[in-house]
Symmetry: D5
Subunit: 151 residues, 10 copies
């Protein structure tokens, strides 16, 4: 427990969020995602867990500390429903709201086909498993930068 | 995700619950407990987490699979409020209810003074950190046996 | 030992079954299969054992917890008899029955040529060695999903 | 699989049986025994498993290769029923038969009180967990010597 | 780099601060302290570094996140000047100011004789080496608790 | 030491022989072979030793437990004398005799050119170094299967 | 602390600087650089830190011990501002001064496009993270040789 | 294979013999000795093997490189026959001859009771297992010094 | 190779010298000393080597960077000749000269009996083996402090 | 220290020399060579050191035990002076003499261009760093065989 830090951000997760740099990706996924087999190919090498939170709560907790990348068009992506690339599920709408709230501006989430998502996820820095039980609660967030204090 | 298993019981936690045997102790603690320094002295050697659950929810999830020891008077213990050994806090009353419900009978929780609790916890098999934010949400559960099927 | 869990599912095996996600493969093999050399190339990296069970008993124990994938035509495959792709051995018939019983519906097992089976097995999440002494007691099971509880 | 070796003796178990020397102890236990916490204090450091065998079958398989110590009065011991030191359970009678058959002569099993058994077990070379579901299926076997071939 | 976190708190240090619990001690020391030999006996096992800060800056950065223990008389201690237990050095006065500022109230620092300090330091959770070049810039901080949000 | 097992088959070697499965290769080599650099690329990853035996004695000891593969034309191969592919050395004749004796039938040894032998050896399960001092005492044995007991 | 060595050069960093040889590269970067994911691909395998120094101070401390390569045109390179290859930022001017001062002669810094810089950095010997908060404080230094003493 | 070095002295054994210093003990034992459980408590931590040699051959090979300690009365000790402290077995006479031959002078071997031998062996630098099949082929050799070349 | 650093101080040795702090001990020994068994009990855990230097050269190289402790009477100690505590050997006189030269003042070396020296050495931070072939070339150096720059 | 072994051949180096086999390469290099980054790609994986010897002394010590390969034209190679492939430096002439002396016959050293030398070095078994301060003191030695004793 630390002053002013969401208690859901456990010690190893804080370590990961701080160790990531500009352009590194974080996967935040639901409970059916093959998190362990994917995470072993990421930089961190094992999944992180935030078992008692749905995807939007986890995304909001992460974004309380984590800057999104402003160098790319879409710093957040979602896994597409198989065969329905344009469907946006309830979980995905909740995460869109959490992202917009954290950024203070509309920040549209891009979409990635299921198997392309798996390939992108293996190149990420780490995988964070939530307690989200609903399907398609899987996202990739790209880390941005913190500018120096104005002189 | 497995059929009929509470999704809060993550893979490493399932491993631990199954690897424990008759008489092994499991510590279930709140977010202020020195879980990491204590857990490094236990058999398992590092803390397990179930971040998004309060103590009673975590105890109930564990007891859905974990038999309590019937060879001892009190298979569950709580950390005493410092200086008030007889006070039973709200968290502790909730856990008493979860234990009674799991056992199907009143199963009074014993109490242990704070520093004696730390010493007992270091001898446990593992430490499970919950997301419990309230003080004194710390318990020790002693594992029992599963009898052979009746012939 | 845990309440309601088949005791043949040992702690490390429970860990593996829970850590697998949608689309991950589990190899269940007989005693002549090169389990160790194959398993070292899988995600888990070492073989798991359930020494005292034949292939069908092991498959049934696993399927008591493990959902099969409904996104693919054949979530279970068998190793073909060398030179006789259409032969279905006694072991394979027993496993077909165990699969059908677990799924509650006919779920035909697909077949894979011996060396193609080895290559597929190396890409699996883990290898589970049974005590099956008969030849061709080797199978691959693809994990499916658990839907969220109906609201 | 090796010529003439019981297939229940898996590779790691063969390694252990061969690596043990004169006076080293092997614990063979039932499924409720705290095998993991005890085994971590033994020489080998982690439990071995022979999941699909009851205690007597496991003891017989081990004794097909493992000489018992002839320098001590009782090379085999059993865990006493709590509070009934003279009770010999069905499992224990089966194991007595397996020992006598392997040795070709009556070889009475000694008894050890439960907590003294735990302490003795921690000093053993290794712990072998069987699939024995009945209580008190826990034994300690002391390894003997193989004499040189007669010249 | 994370939003609102002092960049001097590097990823491993954040991990440590969050993993510590009620009553765990953190050593913050100068560049002449035997940090490596002491840290190897602590819970964390290797020293952490914040090379470019003097002791008071490091203490202030840590206390921006780390609650001090309110269950003890003196949650912060300093190493005594050898042979001059009552001398308070410039570094120690600066740290006293940093502590008082963080706590918002006078919080007197206790003193410990040099070799007793070494013994206490070995029992800590971790050692943080600063870039402090002046002698006697060595302190022990005991972690406190974060109360639950008011309901 | 185990009943009925050749004492030259040390504990780690027994482990390896049992862990190998159908189609896995074992390299048995002389003292000049680059055993360590080759073995690090095999499945087992480090050489095994049976220092006090010539190649034929080692092959005979291994074949007392190890079935040869009956699915291939030549389950045993030898390293060719450089520039003299048809020369069969004394060591190689002795090993041919040991193989024939173990199999109970003529089982001609195939030959492989020196550098091709190195490449094949790197793909093996393990390398066993003997005490053979004569040149070209290097062989590859492919493991076969043990059929189930006749019902 | 060692006689005559800048205290900012901590023990692990001294180890790295000395272990590097002719032609090995050292990355010195700012706090937004993805130092951890890049460093895991370098020879050393984890980032080094010199948290309390800006890029020019860190470069100067390193060059107090580290010879630059005289076999190449530009032994030091900088990361280009995205889209502005010719812009030289304030940080980069400060580092140019530190390099010139260390070498005792103008030693122009070359420039590398951002993603090419990432690829070059992964091939380096190690990554040193500074406390530089300004953007584009990222450099690569190639190690040179120390000539033998004149006879 | 090295010029002039007995090929029975394998690479790890050469490493051990060279790494030992004045006063370090080497255990050389027969095949029934509990070599693995004892060796894990020695400095080296795992047994070394010279499988195809009896005790006297192994002692002679070791003493071709290893100086015995001249600061103690008996640099070599043997395990006593249980209950017959004065009996000197055939193996022990052979080793006495090997020692005398290596030293070029009678060097009487001291004796140690069986369980005292085990305790002494655990304090040794390493344990070397021979292929000696006869009982009581267990010895401890204390390393001496090599004097500087005469000036 | 680094500017101005004695090339005999290899990378791991530089690391050790810098990681040591006030009061930590460094053992510098001759080639007959049991360096490996002693070093495994020190903080660093394995011996360091500076093979091609006699004891005085090694001491001089170390003292070019390493401050001696001014808080104790004798920051350097030597191993006594067995039975002749007052004898000072040639090696010891050479080292006395190297110490005096490094300190710029007579700094008498204390003496420690052989077995007491071994015990003291095990409590050191590290052991550095030199190429010294003469007997009794064994010393312990206690590290001192570097004062802050005068303001 | 061992009888008749050059004390410069330290324990780990003896291990390496003995573990190498026919055709394995050993790199012997000067102090400016990038020994650590190259050695991490070799079989052994970390550099060996013989700090106090120039290249010719190190080569002579190695060749006192190490047979050169007689199956190839040039069992020893040197790194070419950049841009001057025919120049043979003083160090290289000294090493040529050491090689000729060890072999008892002229054994011309071949030459390899600098970057080709780096690539060849990465494929070697190990890298041995000497204390050679002069440039171009870098060589590759290919190990040969020891013939069996004449019968």
């Amino acid at each position: 427990m630390l002053k002013g830090i969401d208690p859901r951000l456990n010690p190893e997760l804080l370590h990961v969020l701080a160790a990531m740099g500009h352009g590194d990706d974080l996967v935040i996924c639901d409970t059916n995602f093959p998190a362990d087999s994917v995470a072993r190919q990421t930089v961190w090498g094992r999944p992180l867990r935030i078992d008692g939170a749905d995807s939007a709560t986890a995304v909001a907790a992460v974004l309380s500390l984590f800057p999104l990348d402003s160098f790319v068009d879409s710093p957040v992506s979602r896994m597409e429903v198989v065969g329905e690339p344009d469907t946006v599920t309830e979980v995905q709408r909740e995460v869109q709201q959490a992202v917009d709230a954290a950024e203070g501006a509309p920040t549209p989430i891009a979409s990635i086909e299921r198997f392309a998502f798996y390939e992108a996820a293996k190149k990420a820095y780490a995988v964070l498993v939530t307690g989200e039980l609903r399907f398609y609660g899987c996202f990739i967030l790209k880390k941005g930068v913190i500018p120096p204090p104005a002189s």
